[in-house]
Structure formats: C-alpha cells, structure tokens
Assembly symmetry: C2
DNA sequence: CAAATAGTGTCTCTAAGACAATATCAC
DNA sequence: GTGATATTGTCTTAGAGACACTATTTG
C-alpha cells in the first residue's frame, strides 16, 4: 500500500516526450432547399461544417472544427466543446471514427487527431443562424467512386469548391482507410478524416441508428426517407421504406398540412 | 509563404500541457482443447491475453498489454509493437475500438488510452510457445448479461479467476459504452476496454470479416463454424452455416483425415 | 457395426424489392 | 380537375432457420 503511494509520489510523467492531442469533428446536417413548383417537396443536401483557418499553418484553408484536448475533460467532451464553440449548437450525437497519428501530419509538430462524426438537425442550425460572412460555412458534400477506383470528395459552398481525391485501402476487420492523393486544398489530413467519417455515417445509416438525429422531434416518413437517401446516395420505393422503418417509429396525432398535396402524418422515434 | 515559415519557426508546442498517450490491446485467440472420446471434435475456447503487472501502479494485477506511443510511429504501429513485444507474434489484424480518456483513469496522471482489438491464430500462438510460468497468460473469456441487466465479464486461467461487473450504456449511433461497477481486480479501466473490444469483435464476426484471422490458411468449415460460435456465443445448424459462408470461401483439394469420422474438405478464404 | 462428423436437398418463413391502386390535399 | 405526395396491399424473390437424409471414415 505504502509502496504504491511512494511510487506515485516519486513518479514523474515528464520523463517521456508526449504528443499533443486534438479532437476534430466532421459535423453533418441536411439542408432542405425549395426547388421547382410549389407542390414539389424540397431537395435535400448533405452538408458539412468547415472553418476557414485564420492563422498558420494552412492559413486561409478550410478545415474541420477541432482543437486541443484540455486537462480534466474526456476526448468526447472536447469534441462536443469544439462543435459548440463554432456553432452554438449542442450536438445530440457524436461517434468516434478513428485516430490519425501519422508522423508529419501536422507541421506544428507531434499532434495526433481523434476524429469524430457529429450529426446536427437543420432545425438547430437554423435557430442559431450562422453569420453569412463568417469563417464557418456548411459545405455541400458529394463523395463517389471514380472510374479509376479512387474516391472523389467534393465540397461546395456558393462559389467555393474543394475537390479532394482519395485512395481507399482495405484494412483488417472489413474496415477501410483513405489515403490522400490530392487534398483539394483542405488543411492537414482532413480530407481523409472526412472520407472516413462519411463512410462511417453511411454504414450507420443502414441500421436506422443515426438518421433520426438529422430531424426534429416529429417528422413525416418522407422526410425521414429523404434523409436516408441523401446520406446513403441510394433510393428506395416509398412503400418499402415505410415497412422498413415501421418498427423504429410511432404515430402521432399530428399531420403536416399546406404542402400542396395530401397531408402526411407526423411520426416520432420509438424508444 | 515566408510568413508560414516564420510562424512555424516561432511556434512552440510546449506552451500547452499535453497528455501521455498509450495503446492498449485486447488480443484474442481461440484455443482448441481435446475433450471426451477420440471421435469427438475438440472444444473451442475464446481466450484473451493478459499481463501481470510487475510494477506500480496496480502491481500484481492483471492488465491488457499496452504501452506509450513513441515519437515517429502511428498509434496502430504502437499497438502492433506492444503485442509483438509480449507474444513475439505479428498480429494479422487490429481494429480500433475506442479512446478512453476519463480524467483519473490512471493514477500516474493524465494518460489517455487508445484501445485496440487484435486477433491471433492458435497456430501462431503455439509456434511461439509462451512460457508457462510467465507473466503473460491467455485467459478464458466469458461475457454475459446478468438478470439485473448488468454484464459480467469472467476471465479464468487455471486457478486464477477475475470477474468484473459492468453497466452497458447506450450512446448515440447505436454504440454501447461500458461503465465499471466492479473491476474484478483488473488494472485501470481495462475491464471496460475488454468489454468494448469483445462487443466490437462480436459485431464484426457477424459479417464474416474477422473469423478467418483466428484460423490458419486452410481450414474445414466445421472449424470455421466453431470459431464463429465461440465468439458470438450462439449456434447455427451446420447445413445453414455452410450456405452462409459459401460465398466467402473456396474449396481446396485437400482433406483433413484421421479424426475418427468422415474426412472434411479444407477450404481457403476467398479473396 | 457404431459413433461421430461431412455434406446435400428441401420445406418454411420472413423481409426486401417491384408495382398497382387508392386517398387526400392545395391550387 | 390537376398534380403532387401519402398510404395500403399484394406478388415475387432471396436468404435464413429447421430438419430429414445420405456419405464416409476410424476404432
């Protein structure tokens, strides 16, 4: 007993060199955009939060929000804190998607990044109302396989377009890693972090564990379906989608009216 | 351009306090043990590598193999290195399963742990032949839900029995976290790391991405089935299992003979 | 021959995909 | 009424579970 106390008293953690540790977060939301006739339902777009870097390194490049782990907090708390600092939104859900520790990934020195994916509802984003001229913007995301087998990640926001190219590499346990072929102007190895996060998001969306976080408390089944289709980049027949989610949702007595067509019943996530 | 150089030259990373970073690995293997008549196929047991700590803190407690991240290596390389140092086996597969960064988890100070699961074939383990008296032992694993909803993790090796109790807590994205109710004598928060790793292993085993790593290059379908049943703790009818894996394996011309019954064809993992 | 596993075939049941048909509103 | 989505039902098909049956070896 005493000897353990003695040991700890004499123990100095400063003997070994230590890395800096950050949490970087790929925060996604889905934006609905009016399009076409008054009757037609709005288009959905998957969007990712990027921050324009004000200081070196990668000054003026776009990057994921993130920051250094502080003493006394967990890495999850750090990720949540960084998102809150940038958006004033308290995200409902975050998910770890990997640790990026390749030596040399950050020119400032030995810095390893814990990557997270976060999902934020459009409602929350709207409520906060981000400054249009700000250095934080929601970029439209597209991520597809090219003919050559590489993956192209394209992020657009108004005039700004970033386009990164990545090579997918299978690792054990059926996992996939991404190696950056062209960062497309994104800071650090953030292109690879985004690709990894997006893959994780798509995997989770399959099991209906994630898609509810993009929506408010109550929603129509069409809204839910559009969310899933936007994330997964596939489409399902509405009739079949209803069956698939039926066990995950429960009816409310409310309906969404005034959309130019038959009102839709609002549903709620089942516990 | 020059200003970035200037910035980096003047930048000192030592301004901020930094944590120590470790990789801890839950390395699993499956051991076959002769049992009953000469005809009967051997029993399979899932085993986990634990190290008896020689120094403080948690002196003489059992712990996961692990160690500090060194400059110039990735965290994955660190995990592989730690396993190799303990077993002399180069694991084929490792998978990250989370970061444990709760303040106070290590009495030595601010130390965060990157947890990995690794899978090692019995063949490799046997070839190395670990010292029986050594401080590294393969413990039998059982992990089940109790009536109260808590989870009991039991690790046994000969006379030694460690029994930890954990509370499962659902987090977002359908993930589960474990909180330690009783560490059962395991060092640090390693009981929670093991529980998390085992859950991840079971999830992966469903999709046939992992089970091959427990076996040598060629194997019988019964061997493969027993591996899956041992990990998942469920059983399937042999006829149905064959159908399920048929697309993941390919026949060889070899047979396994001399087992007291009809010889079984050896299969190989399909690319 | 007996005991054990190896391997095949087939019936059922469930869930997903396709598609037809009806319902209901805003304009 | 028209154009859109909402909602229900049904046919088909793919895959998992159950089970009966045959094949082959060793002691």
């Amino acid at each position: 007993m005493d000897s353990e106390k003695e040991f700890l008293a004499g123990y100095s953690i400063d003997k070994y060199e230590r890395p800096s540790v950050t949490a970087d977060v790929a925060a996604f939301t889905i934006s609905t955009e009016e399009s076409g006739s008054y009757r037609r339902s709005p288009e959905n777009k998957l969007r990712l939060l990027l921050i324009r870097r004000g200081g070196h390194p990668y000054k003026d490049c776009w990057a994921l929000p993130g920051g250094f782990l502080q003493k006394g907090e967990t890495i999850e708390q750090c990720a949540l804190r960084e998102i809150f600092e940038e958006t004033n939104v308290q995200p409902v859900s975050i998910m770890p998607v990997g640790v990026f520790s390749e030596p040399g990934r950050d020119p400032r020195g030995w810095i390893i990044s814990n990557a997270y994916v976060s999902v934020i509802s459009e409602e929350s984003v709207r409520q906060v109302g981000m400054d249009d001229a700000a250095d934080a913007q929601w970029f439209c995301v597209s991520f597809d396989c090219t003919e050559t087998g590489a993956h192209r990640l394209t992020l657009t926001c108004g005039e700004i377009a970033l386009s990164a190219l990545l090579a997918a590499e299978k690792t054990s346990f059926g996992r996939t890693q991404y190696r950056i072929l062209d960062s497309g102007g994104l800071a650090f190895d953030h292109a690879a972090i985004i690709a990894t996060g997006l893959s994780a998001l798509r995997t989770e969306a399959k099991s209906f564990d994630t898609i509810f976080d993009f929506l408010p408390e109550t929603f129509t089944l069409s809204q839910l379906q559009k969310v899933q289709e936007t994330i997964m980049n596939v489409s399902v027949l509405p009739a079949n989608f209803r069956r698939m989610v039926s066990s995950y949702v429960e009816e409310t007595d409310e309906f969404l009216r005034g959309e130019g067509h038959r009102p839709a019943r609002l549903y709620r996530r089942k516990v």
